[in-house]
């Protein structure tokens, strides 16, 4: 018996699975805007069913895991390949040590069945304002490496986001990897608010990365998700935090500034006003947690 179809059948397309990067870039050049790249498929497959994507060619990266996957630490840089899955990131002790906020976010993406296949590169390329991987990467000062036929370029992670569900990738370009500075003593964490604990998109997510030294916050960065057209750095709050005394009072002040930095809209997940409130609460919660966890002499 044939399964029922809720959604329209997926339109036909050419399906191509290149074996090498040069072959991939030839295909992408040849097919241009009519090609869609698939890694895990958790976003694209739904877009195909809903008709929000109707590529003439689907280009599968599955043979390129050696080139585009993996998690490694090399000379102070944590490199995460675009095809690393959220399950792999969640399970990585190296990520836990140098990018705890990202590990926490990875563990909360979707469900087990989604984390098993959904990739970091796919999350960035889809460019949802609510992409849970983005605030940790922004807070940690990560760069993204983009590959195309003629070479590669490195961008600050924010710059891959051009607008809601619009990445800055040009035709013929793919996300290859993410590079995170792996410094000792950087504390980072991520949290979010949503209508339930699991299996849900974030209404607001917040990541904080900072050092505490000699009783002061150093190199502090607060990043926000789902409160603007793209994930964003809370600039005023980050600047105000850096160099100030590491106290609960300061945490509250910074949290208020972070809420002012946020530029949310109202939608089905939360109202704009509630989102600003959540930014303040979650930011304060993370900084307070940091004060408890790091030793403030």
């Amino acid at each position: 018996m044939k399964s029922f179809q809720y959604l329209a059948p997926i339109p036909r397309f050419d399906y191509l699975a290149p074996k090498t990067l040069p072959e991939l870039f030839d295909i992408l050049e040849d097919r241009g805007r009519e090609a869609a790249v698939i890694a895990g498929g958790t976003d694209l497959t739904i877009a195909l069913k809903e008709g929000t994507a109707s590529p003439k060619a689907v280009v599968d990266l599955r043979h390129l895991r050696n080139e585009l996957g993996g998690i490694s630490l090399d000379r102070g840089t944590l490199r995460i390949g675009a095809m690393a899955t959220f399950s792999e990131i969640e399970a990585s002790l190296t990520v836990g040590r140098y990018a705890n906020a990202l590990r926490q976010a990875a563990a909360n993406v979707g469900t087990l069945q989604i984390r098993s296949i959904a990739t970091l590169g796919g999350n960035l390329a889809t460019a949802s304002p609510a992409a849970d991987s983005a605030p940790p990467l922004i807070a940690l000062g990560a760069n993204v490496t983009v590959l195309n036929k003629s070479g590669k370029k490195s961008l600050p992670i924010q710059d891959i986001f051009a607008g809601p569900k619009r990445s800055a990738l040009q035709s013929g370009e793919i996300v290859a990897s993410v590079e995170i500075p792996a410094a000792e003593g950087v504390w980072s964490a991520w949290t979010r608010a949503a209508v339930r604990n699991e299996n849900v998109l974030s209404a607001v997510s917040v990541a904080v990365a900072a050092k505490v030294r000699h009783g002061k916050f150093e190199a502090s960065r607060i990043a926000l998700g789902a409160v603007a057209p793209t994930p964003m750095l809370a600039e005023t709050a980050s600047k105000a935090m850096t160099g100030t005394r590491a106290t609960a009072e300061q945490a509250e002040k910074v949290a208020i500034l972070a809420a002012e930095d946020a530029k949310p809209i109202s939608d089905i997940r939360a109202s704009a006003r509630y989102r600003k409130h959540l930014v303040q609460v979650l930011t304060r919660r993370l900084i307070t947690q940091m004060l408890l966890e790091v030793q403030v002499p």
Partner: protein, 160 residues
């Protein structure tokens, strides 16, 4: 050049070769073409987990995977985990604990819980709940299923 692609993979331990249209999900392919009807389509958008299968050993929502993506890989459905005559420990515990009502979510639930049973035998209650959040059941309230998994873990550890 729009056309069929070759799909060669292992399904429940047996090699399978096919020529398929690429514009179908693994869920539809397994249910409609391969005849492994234990793979259920619930939401078709990756939320409910009724279509959960193991892909290279890890639970995935087969409605989010395009069938040609599994070329060269290994898929296990609920049919590959045990038979009525020889159920796996989780399947046996589901029967013992009446962990089934309407049954629609059960194949996917069994796949996820069997994976936890095999790979995370020390999982806490909170961790079990977190990991099964991708398998929705509208009948049971999950309690019997968690009890069944814990009983299966206990019976297996006794045998070890």
């Amino acid at each position: 050049m729009k056309g069929k692609v070759r799909l060669s993979f292992k399904l429940n331990g047996e090699k399978r070769n096919d020529e398929i249209e690429p514009n179908q999900t693994l869920c539809d392919y397994l249910h409609d073409v391969a005849g492994t009807t234990g793979v259920k389509k619930g939401c078709d958008t990756g939320e409910c987990g009724a279509c959960t299968v193991l892909l290279d050993g890890v639970p995935v929502a087969s409605c989010l995977v395009l069938a040609p993506q599994v070329d060269g890989r290994e898929v296990v459905t609920v049919e590959g985990l045990g038979k009525t005559s020889n159920p796996n420990p989780v399947q046996a515990a589901f029967v013992e604990h009446d962990a089934v009502q309407c049954g629609y979510c059960i194949p996917g639930m069994i796949v996820t819980l069997s994976w936890i049973h095999q790979h995370l035998p020390g999982a806490s209650d909170a961790e079990i709940k977190r990991l099964m959040s991708g398998n929705l059941c509208r009948c049971t309230g999950y309690q019997q299923q968690i009890e069944a998994l814990k009983a299966a873990l206990l019976s297996t550890s006794r045998r070890r």
